[in-house]
């Protein structure tokens, strides 16, 4: 099987056209960048359908495209848990219950909400940890892209890294958040059109869904599972031994479905920022719901290719084989190898461009989130407080350059991981899982205090690292996978299970400690201060006069019903 391919003039032309448009959007938007609000918050003026698509597109980076395809091959249909039980309920919760506080409080970022609701130290902790995390995520996107260009096209690693960094830098520098959001929408359409032919060809080749199921039952049996283990999502979750993910339904439900997903989708400024850029409160609340519709069907584009790849590998006559890495399959290669297998010159260029687009949207999303947090929550709060808005606009622009430079550094650091996904999950577990406890208590319990929130967050993060340091997944060979405290108290059947439980412990520690410490400390903010920040002290949003299907609640119910139907179909 060839792992590198040569491109024709048409492939390069397609790539070039894409680059021209991406940069052109930045260039066109440049003249609207008059204030720091325009640059860092998109002037709060973007229609909901655009922010909705950007909401999911910014997440459709390397992590999702490469990681989900890899998981699709490794774990099969169970990977949809990241969507239907993971993302969707969290997105609904964000839209209905949390968005009113983010958007209504006039906070400019998630850390700033924490400052308004709690205190300075809570904001500082969140702002710094978030800044580090986004830079890492952006660096991983860059690394993955450059690695791909190197192995597939024979491009120089440093050159690929540089070119992608420069393109993202230019369009974010010129048009700020608006440019990133507009490009994310463009990238979203490109990713869909680029990957759809791949899925269609793959399914035709393997004989449709039946052919896929049949071949995957061979895969399952060969690996010592029930025949349906690769095509069912919940059916084999009653014991970690009966599904390739090595998890039990409770871990999925609590760890992934509740703690990790709510922590990610409801408190991660990367995605929340898109909703906060909407033109109205109704628009901000609809953003995650509009995004939820395409999100529910993304598994068809990113998980199914992984399942097809492993299914084809199991059929020797297919002429397709996943490359090996050491003594296991190189799962991260699923998408590129499939592209090379099915696409002739022409769509090949389109597919590769779509892949690049996905990496760039991931990168740009992180860079814009980093910009805002750095400028407002770190620079304006701790370094230089009283300057004109012009000054902060300039700082925002310069931060773009700084952010991209540091991500390049992170890209070089991110080299030694087999499954990029697992590594990011680990970081999310450490930082995000306790965060959701803080927000939950902050938004819905007016008695929670700044000291409680801060100490709760810190101990949640500590609990996460402690748990990770004392446990290990089966067959762990490096300390990065766990057990670095010397003694392994518990061994999990898989890394995934360990990650879910790390999150559960972190969340519980943060929740319990925030409650205890809040009750022990004095409440420093009056009810008047907390108006618009806490559920019980905020007047309900009135939405008479809006047609029912444009209101968030009915939309949320429809999203929920569709997700349940999908889950039942692939039970």
């Amino acid at each position: 099987m060839e792992t590198s391919f040569t491109l024709g003039w048409i492939d390069y032309t397609i790539m070039l056209v894409y680059f021209v448009f991406v940069l052109g959007i930045g260039w066109t938007l440049k003249r609207y960048m008059k204030s720091s609000t325009d640059f860092l918050e998109a002037g709060r003026s973007i229609p909901a359908w655009i922010t909705g698509l950007a909401f999911i597109a910014t997440n459709l980076g390397a992590l999702e495209v490469i990681g989900m395809a890899a998981s699709g091959a490794k774990y099969g249909m169970a990977t949809v848990h990241f969507y239907w039980i993971g993302a969707i309920p969290a997105m609904i919760f964000l839209a209905i219950f949390m968005m009113p506080f983010y958007y209504g409080s006039k906070a400019r970022s998630v850390p700033e909400y924490l400052k308004l609701r709690f205190d300075e130290k809570t904001r500082g902790f969140n702002a710094f940890s978030f800044a580090v995390m986004t830079i890492f995520a952006s660096g991983i996107s860059m690394y993955a892209l450059a690695m791909l260009m190197e192995t597939l096209l024979g491009w120089d690693f440093d050159f690929s890294l540089l070119i992608s960094a420069v393109i993202v830098l230019v369009y974010v520098y010129l048009g700020g958040l608006t440019s990133a959001i507009y490009n994310e929408v463009l990238q979203f359409f490109l990713i869909v059109i680029g990957f759809t032919p791949l899925v269609i060809l793959g399914l035709i080749n393997i004989g449709g869904w039946e052919g896929l199921t049949e071949s995957l039952s061979d895969v399952a049996v060969r690996n010592g599972y029930e025949p349906g283990a690769w095509v069912n999502s919940w059916k084999y979750m009653d014991s970690p031994d009966s599904n390739p993910m090595g998890v039990k339904w409770f871990g999925v439900l609590m760890g992934l479905g509740f703690v990790l997903s709510f922590g990610y989708w409801c408190t991660n400024f990367l995605v929340v920022q898109r909703a906060m850029a909407a033109d109205s409160m109704a628009g901000a609340r609809k953003t995650p719901l509009i995004g939820a519709f395409p999100k529910m069907f993304l598994p068809a584009l990113v998980i199914i290719p992984g399942m097809i790849a492993i299914a084809l590998t199991a059929i020797p006559e297919s002429g397709f084989e996943l490359p090996l890495k050491g003594n296991s399959y190189d799962y991260d290669k699923v998408i590129p190898v499939l592209l090379g297998h099915y696409f002739p010159t022409g769509v090949l260029g389109l597919g590769l461009t779509a892949l690049m687009a996905s990496f760039m949207s991931g990168m740009a999303g992180n860079v814009t989130a980093f910009n805002t947090v750095w400028t407002y929550d770190i620079y304006q709060s701790y370094i230089n407080k009283k300057k004109s808005d012009r000054h902060y606009l300039r700082v925002g622009q310069l931060t773009t350059i700084f952010g991209v430079l540091v991500s390049i550094g992170a890209a070089y650091m991110a080299r030694s991981f087999n499954n990029v996904m697992d590594f990011l999950q680990l970081i999310f577990a450490f930082i995000n899982a306790p965060l959701f406890a803080t927000f939950l208590l902050g938004m819905f319990w007016k008695r929670s205090t700044g000291h409680g929130a801060f100490l709760g967050l810190v101990s949640g993060t500590l609990a996460a690292s402690l748990h990770h340091g004392l446990t290990a997944p089966a067959g762990a060979d490096t300390l990065i996978k766990g057990g670095w405290l010397g003694t392994v108290v518990h061994t999990y059947p898989s890394e995934m299970a360990q990650n879910f439980w790390t999150a559960i412990y972190a969340f519980s520690a943060a929740f319990i400690l925030t409650v205890i410490i809040s009750l022990m400390t004095k409440k420093l903010k009056s009810d008047e201060d907390l108006k618009g920040l806490v559920y019980s002290l905020t007047p309900r949003i009135r939405e008479e006069g809006i047609v029912w299907y444009k209101r968030p609640a009915p939309l949320a119910i429809i999203v929920g019903i569709v997700a349940i139907i999908l889950s039942l179909l692939f039970w």
């Binding site: 048409i10 609207y32 463009l186």
Partner: protein, 69 residues
């Protein structure tokens, strides 16, 4: 914001769609090239789909010229 996102997306899809459609027509019958895509002229089909999406975007962007505000 003064830029309707449908215009650049529509334009890009139209251009790429035309490119792929023409390329697909020009390479029709090249069995060696389309062997890997299961003898389907995937360039032509993808091109047509992109062209349709592009034209649709451009058409709807004209009906609703730059929103108020």
């Amino acid at each position: 914001m003064g830029l309707d996102i449908k215009v650049p997306i529509g334009l890009m899809f139209t251009i790429l769609g035309l490119l792929l459609t023409i390329f697909g027509l020009a390479t029709a019958g090249n069995t060696e090239m389309y062997h890997r895509s299961l003898d389907i002229n995937i360039n032509l089909w993808t091109g047509i789909a992109m062209l349709l999406i592009g034209v649709f975007m451009l058409a709807t962007s004209k009906i609703k010229p730059a929103k108020k505000e």
